[in-house]
């Protein structure tokens, strides 16, 4: 199946749940906390695109992102009892996904496994506005530490404080990594300093 066809199948799988309201989600979370697996599937359908998107940007690899998405939801299921309502469920789930990616990367680093070129990233070539090397692929080619911060702050709107906390870094490290990531991206994309 082509990547495009696969993507369409995925889209159709999620479209039927697009109309779900916040209260439906709240009810699904409450039921899942009580051990309702079907309710947890509803949660999966609601949040999988956000978690997969985050994992894909952090890992730069489709298969790894799928594995991390899967592991994140399994870890979330195990931890549902500890979910505190004062944090948004989406935020809570994203933190689990970030931890999952970082834990997996630590394992890969130890085994010195080499990442493959990025695959499965959104195709931006037809927008007509992209530089020769598209932005997604340039992000995927960043060194992991710089990429993590750029993805969280630049794409997902985290503050430095939130990103540093989620990644287990000092805020100063976070800021330095972001500057470095921007500099590398500008160089790769041939952009002038804004």
């Amino acid at each position: 199946m082509s990547a495009f066809a696969g993507s369409m199948v995925g889209t159709l799988q999620f479209r039927q749940f697009a109309a779900g309201s916040d209260s439906d989600t709240e009810a699904a979370i409450a039921a899942a906390v009580r051990g309702d697996v079907a309710a947890f599937e509803t949660i999966y359908r609601e949040f999988a695109p956000r978690i997969y998107g985050l994992c894909l940007r952090l890992t730069g690899q489709r298969e790894t992102a799928e594995d991390c998405t899967q592991d994140s939801f399994v870890a979330a299921w195990r931890s549902l009892g500890r979910f505190e309502r004062r944090s948004l469920f989406s935020t809570w789930l994203q933190r689990i996904a970030i931890r999952t990616v970082l834990a997996r990367r630590r394992g890969l680093r130890a085994s010195r496994e080499v990442a493959e070129p990025a695959g499965g990233l959104p195709d931006q070539a037809d927008h007509g506005t992209m530089p020769p090397i598209d932005l997604e692929r340039a992000i995927a080619a960043l060194p992991p530490g710089a990429r993590d911060v750029l993805v969280l702050v630049g794409i997902y709107g985290y503050s430095h404080d939130e990103a540093a906390s989620a990644l287990g870094l000092a805020e100063g490290t976070c800021k330095a990594q972001l500057h470095r990531a921007r500099e590398l991206l500008r160089a790769t994309l041939g952009l002038e300093e804004a």
Partner: protein, 174 residues
């Protein structure tokens, strides 16, 4: 109409979609995993972790040996661009200087033997970085050296970060 080439990097990043639908439906695998999760005892977990760690170390050694022998092809222009030394952008340099200042302040709070050990570790990292730079100057197409330089950069930042984070509770008590 706005010239796309002049559009700021931040604006481009902010326009990227946050949600990406997985190319395949992952729920069946998740459900299987959820339903077959046996509770593992701590002893089993520790034994498994030890085995995995041993395998990873063995894998690291094997990879390093094989990689150093096999990698002979020239890296792509992009990989070279991405692994060049630290940027000289003023914003980055200011952030880096701020990080080092914080590190120095926190380092001064530690007892002398710990401080000496950390300083020694930092000196080793700097020495390694300088040696790698020299080696890269002689062999600029070596992906292994580029990776080592990247690794030295990470090690330096990890050291700063460890000191800053581990001294945080000390500050909180003051």
């Amino acid at each position: 109409m706005k010239d796309p080439a002049r559009e700021s990097l931040d604006a481009r990043l902010a326009k990227l979609p946050r949600d990406i639908v997985p190319p395949r439906y992952l729920w069946p695998s998740i459900e299987r995993e959820i339903e077959r999760q046996p509770l593992r005892t701590p002893q089993v977990v520790l034994a498994a972790a030890a085995s995995v760690a041993a395998l990873m170390i063995a894998g690291a050694v094997i990879w390093a040996v094989l990689h150093s022998r096999q990698v002979t092809s020239a890296p792509s222009a992009q990989s070279i661009a991405m692994s060049l030394d630290e940027p000289h952008d003023p914003g980055y340099l200011a952030a880096r200087a701020g990080l080092v200042d914080t590190f120095r302040e926190r380092l001064a709070m530690l007892d002398p033997p710990t401080r000496a050990k950390i300083e020694a570790n930092l000196a080793v990292i700097h020495q390694a970085r300088d040696d790698i730079r020299k080696a890269l100057a002689a062999d600029p197409n070596s992906p292994v050296l580029e990776e080592l330089l990247e690794s030295a950069w990470h090690d330096e930042f990890d050291l700063y970060d460890d000191v800053i984070r581990t001294t945080q509770p000390t500050l909180a008590r003051i």
